[in-house]
Symmetry: C2
Subunit: 485 residues, 2 copies
C-alpha cells in the first residue's frame, strides 16, 4: 500500500502549519487521552482517572450549566417549548427576541456575517452598562469563540509575506498560545515582551520599549496584544499600567488588541478592580479616546458560565478606519456567519435576568456560587504551590490559572535534555504518568530562558483540587529526591 | 476627529484581504439589506418585500426545521427535558448518546479538536451505509460548516508565499466563491477550468489538461476542486466523468477536493444517480483506491434540513499521509473545537430515525415534502428561464441553484461599462431596484469571457417562486426593450 508517493508530505505542505504549536492541546494532552483509553481498557495505574488541569474547560471538570442560559437555548432551538409552562417568562422573552432577529424566525438560517442585529444590540447595551459609555452595535462583530475574532483581526493586520516587510505583533511572555500559533500561521514576526514575574507578572513599559526597539530591524511593528486578566499568569493590570500601555501604542503607532475574555473572573476586586481598556482609553481624553485603534475580545467560554462548546464570542472595534472595518467584515462574510446558538449564548450572557424577573434569584445564586468556588480555589492553589520546596507562585488575581515557577535540580534538567525534551515538559510528563494529573509545561506559553513553569487551571471541584495539590506535593518531593544529590 | 492617521488603512492592511471577494454576500446583497431597511422605514417601492434568491438559506425563505433534529438539539441543550414525556424516545436516545460522548456530559464543554468521538462514529456509519464501504472515524474531522473544513485543507496544501513556488489549486468556472476567496486569502494560484455550458455544464478532462498545462509555468499545481452536485451550476457528474477526473488527478499528482455538500439534493436520480467520489475511487481498484488523496466535504446546511445557522460540517480524508493528517489536526487544535451543537446537528443528520422508531414516519414525511418541493421548483425555475427571450438555462439536476445565461443587448453592456460595473451586475442591480429580487451576478462565480449569467436559488416557497419568475419575466422584457434598438 505504501509503494506510492503522497502528494502531501511534511516536505510539501504549508511550512507555517508544520511550524505552529498549540501546547494547550499538545503532546502532554494527547498522552493524557491515551492514558484515559488505557484506564478504560482495564490497565492498572497509580490513579483511577486523569485530572485535566490543562484547559479552561469548566463543564468538563464538573461545573453545571447556568439554568437560564440553557433554557433560552432550548427555547430558540425548539420553539414549541414557548408554550411549555415549565419555562420561565424571562427566558421566553429572550428567545422571542432572538427569533425575531433571525431570518424565517429560525436559528437554522444564516445570520448576517457579523451576527444577528438584535444580539449585537444587547451586547452593546451590556458594554454601556459596564463602562458607562455608549457602544455602537455596528462596531461589534460576533465570532466562533473569541479565538476566531482574534485570528480575523490578526489576519487583517498581517502581510502574510516573508522578508523585512513582515508585520510585527507584540505578545506577552508567557502568553496564551493562540497568539503564537496564529503568528506562525500568518508568518507574522512575533515580538516577545516579558511580564515581570518578580513583580506579580507586572507589565512594564520599559520592557515594551526594549522589545520593540530590538525587533524594529526585523519587522514592521503593527500591534500589541495584552491579555487582562492574564492567561496563563492570572494577573490583573492596574489602571496606571493600562494608561502606560495606551500611551505606548499611541507613541509607536500600534493597534491595541485587548484579550478581555476573563473580565468576569476577578478574585480580589478590592486590590485590583478590573477595568476595560475602552473605559481607560475614554478617560484619558480625546487625544487618546478618539485615535487609538482598539479591538476588545470577549467570550462565552469563560467567566461563571464556561460555555466553551457553544463557541460564542464577540469583538468590539474602536477607532478603526471605516474602510478597513468594511474589509474585515467582507473577509468574515466568506465564512457566512458564526454558529447562531453561540451568538445566542453570548447575547444572553450580556443580557441576564434582571432584578424582578422570575429567573433572577436562581441565576444570581448559580453565578455567585461558581465565582465563590473559583475564588476559594485560586487561593488554595497558590497557597499549596508556594508551600512546595523550590516552587513559587504569584497570586491568582483573576482568570482561571496559576503559573508557578519550579526550580528543577540540574540532574533533572540533564535527564530531560538527554531525552530531547524541555525540562518542564519532562516534569509534567512524569507527573502525568505517575499521578494522572495533566498540566501544561511553561515552555508552551513562553518563559524567561533558564526558568521553568507549568500552568494549571483552578477548575476541578474543591475536593478534586485538594487531591490534585496533595498528589502534586507527593510527586514533587519524590521528583526532587530522585534528581537531587 | 479625523486629524490623526490610522495605523490600519487600505494601504497597510493585508493585501490578500483587500483582494478577496465573496459575491454571495457582495454589494448586491448589501444593497438588498438597505432596501429592506428603507421598506421598514415606510419608503414606497414597486415591491413590498425583498426576495432573497442570493443564498442557499432554506429557513430564511420559510422552510420549517425538521422536528426530530431540533428535538435532539433541545434535549442536549437542556437535559432536564429528558424527563419530558412529550419528547420521543428515539430523540432521547440520540441525545443520551451525544451527552455520553461529551466531557462532563455537557455540550458546553470543548470536544476534542476533530469532534466528539461518538458523533464521528455515527458519521462513519452513515458513510458506510451510503457507499457500502468501511469508513474510519479517525479519518473524519468535524468543522464549523463545510467552509471551515475546506479552508483548513486548502491552508494545509498552500505555501502562503508569493513567487513561482505558489501552490496552484484547480477550481471550476463557474465556482462557489468560497474557493476563490480562500485562494486569495492564502495567496494560492487559482487555475480556472471551465465547465461546458453547452453540454449541461459537463466537466471535460480535455479542458482540465488545457488549464493545467497553461498554469504550470506560474505555479506548482497541487489540488483539484470538484463540486458535485454543482454550485452554482446544478449539474450532477456522470460516473464516467468521475472516473476520468480520478485518472487525471492520479496522472498529475494532485489531491482531489470533493465538495459533496449537496449529496441529498438530487432531482433526477434516474438520469444521473449521485455517487460519492470515495465509492468511485474504490470501484476503480487498488491502483487508484489505495493512492489517490481525497478529501470529501459534507454540511448540515443544505439537503432537506438546511440547518445553516448550526454551522455543522465534516470532512473525510482518504489516503492522506498519517503525518500530514496529524499536522492538519494539530492546526485545528488552535481553534479548540467546532461548535458542539453544530456537531450534534450533522451527527443526527447522519443518524436519522430508523424504521420502527417513533419519529420515523414524521421524519420521512417532513424530509420528502421538502425534497419534492425542491424538485418541483427546480423544473419550474429552468422552464420559466428558458421561456424568456435571450435566456437559456440548463436542467437543475441537483443542488439548489439555477445559473442561466442571459444575452444582453450591446446598449446595456455599454451602459454598464459606463457605470464601471460588470454587465450582469448591472442587470441584477436593476432587477433588485425595480422588483426587489436579489440574484447574484455570474461575474461573482466566474464565466466564459463575454458571457453573462446570474445565479438564483430555487428555495422560496412555490407561490413566491412563481411570483419571482413572473416579475423577472416582466423586468426582462422591459430591460430588453429599454436597451434594444
Amino acid at each position: 500500500m505504501e509503494n506510492f508517493h503522497h502528494v502531501l508530505t511534511l516536505a510539501t505542505i504549508n511550512p507555517n502549519v508544520v511550524q505552529m504549536q498549540y501546547a494547550v492541546r499538545g503532546p502532554i494532552v494527547i498522552r493524557s487521552q491515551e492514558l484515559e483509553k488505557e484506564l478504560l481498557s482495564g490497565q492498572k495505574k497509580n490513579f483511577e482517572q486523569v485530572v485535566k488541569c490543562n484547559i479552561g474547560d469548566c463543564h468538563a471538570t464538573g461545573q453545571k450549566p447556568i439554568t437560564f442560559l440553557r433554557q433560552v437555548i432550548a427555547l430558540c432551538s425548539y420553539p414549541a417549548l414557548l408554550d411549555d409552562p415549565n419555562f420561565p417568562e424571562d427566558a421566553k422573552e429572550r428567545a422571542r427576541g432572538v427569533l425575531a432577529g433571525c431570518a424565517g424566525a429560525s436559528v437554522g438560517s444564516y445570520s448576517i456575517s457579523i451576527g444577528v442585529p438584535t444580539i449585537r444590540e444587547r451586547i452593546a447595551a451590556y458594554i454601556k452598562r459596564r463602562d458607562g459609555l455608549s457602544a455602537n452595535p455596528t462596531n461589534i462583530f460576533l465570532s466562533n469563540g473569541a479565538s476566531e475574532a482574534v485570528k480575523a483581526v490578526l489576519l487583517l493586520l498581517s502581510s502574510c509575506q516573508p522578508g523585512p516587510d513582515r508585520v510585527g505583533v507584540m505578545v506577552p511572555i508567557p502568553q496564551y498560545p493562540l497568539y503564537s500559533a496564529t503568528n506562525s500561521e500568518y508568518n507574522a514576526y512575533q515580538i516577545d515582551y516579558y511580564l515581570d514575574e518578580s513583580n506579580n507578572w507586572n507589565l512594564d513599559v520599559v520592557e515594551l520599549e526594549r522589545s520593540l526597539a530590538e525587533a524594529k530591524v526585523n519587522c514592521k511593528p503593527r500591534a500589541l496584544v495584552v491579555i487582562n486578566p492574564g492567561n496563563p499568569t492570572g494577573q490583573v493590570l492596574s489602571r496606571q499600567c493600562m494608561e502606560d500601555i495606551i500611551r505606548f501604542v499611541k507613541r509607536h503607532g500600534l493597534v491595541l488588541l485587548a484579550d478581555e475574555v476573563y473580565q468576569f473572573n476577578i478574585y480580589n476586586p478590592d486590590a485590583t478592580p478590573w477595568t476595560s481598556f475602552k473605559k481607560v482609553l475614554h478617560d484619558m481624553g480625546p487625544e487618546y479616546a478618539d485615535s487609538v485603534e482598539l479591538a476588545s475580545f470577549m467570550s462565552a467560554s469563560k467567566g461563571y458560565m464556561g460555555e466553551c462548546g457553544f463557541r460564542g464570542g464577540y469583538c468590539e472595534l474602536i477607532n478603526f478606519d471605516p474602510d478597513v472595518q468594511a474589509q474585515l467584515f467582507k473577509y468574515l462574510s466568506a465564512r457566512l456567519c458564526p454558529a447562531v446558538l453561540g451568538q445566542v449564548m453570548i447575547g444572553v450572557i450580556c443580557d441576564p435576568p434582571r432584578e424582578g424577573e422570575p429567573s433572577y434569584e436562581t441565576f444570581v445564586k448559580e453565578r455567585d456560587s461558581v465565582l465563590a468556588d473559583l475564588k476559594m480555589k485560586a487561593k488554595l492553589t497558590s497557597d499549596t504551590l508556594n508551600s512546595l520546596e523550590g516552587v513559587t507562585c504569584n497570586d491568582v488575581q483573576g482568570a482561571m490559572y496559576a503559573f508557578p515557577q519550579i526550580r528543577l535540580p540540574p540532574k533533572a534538567i540533564a535527564a530531560a535534555k538527554e531525552k530531547g525534551v524541555e525540562p518542564d515538559f519532562f516534569y509534567c510528563l512524569n507527573l502525568l504518568e505517575e499521578k494522572g494529573i495533566c498540566f501544561v509545561p511553561g515552555s508552551g506559553f513562553g518563559q524567561q530562558p533558564g526558568t521553568y513553569h507549568f500552568r494549571t487551571t483552578i477548575l476541578p471541584s474543591v475536593p478534586v483540587m485538594r487531591q490534585v495539590m496533595a498528589d502534586l506535593a507527593d510527586f514533587h518531593k519524590d521528583f526532587l529526591a530522585k534528581y537531587s544529590s
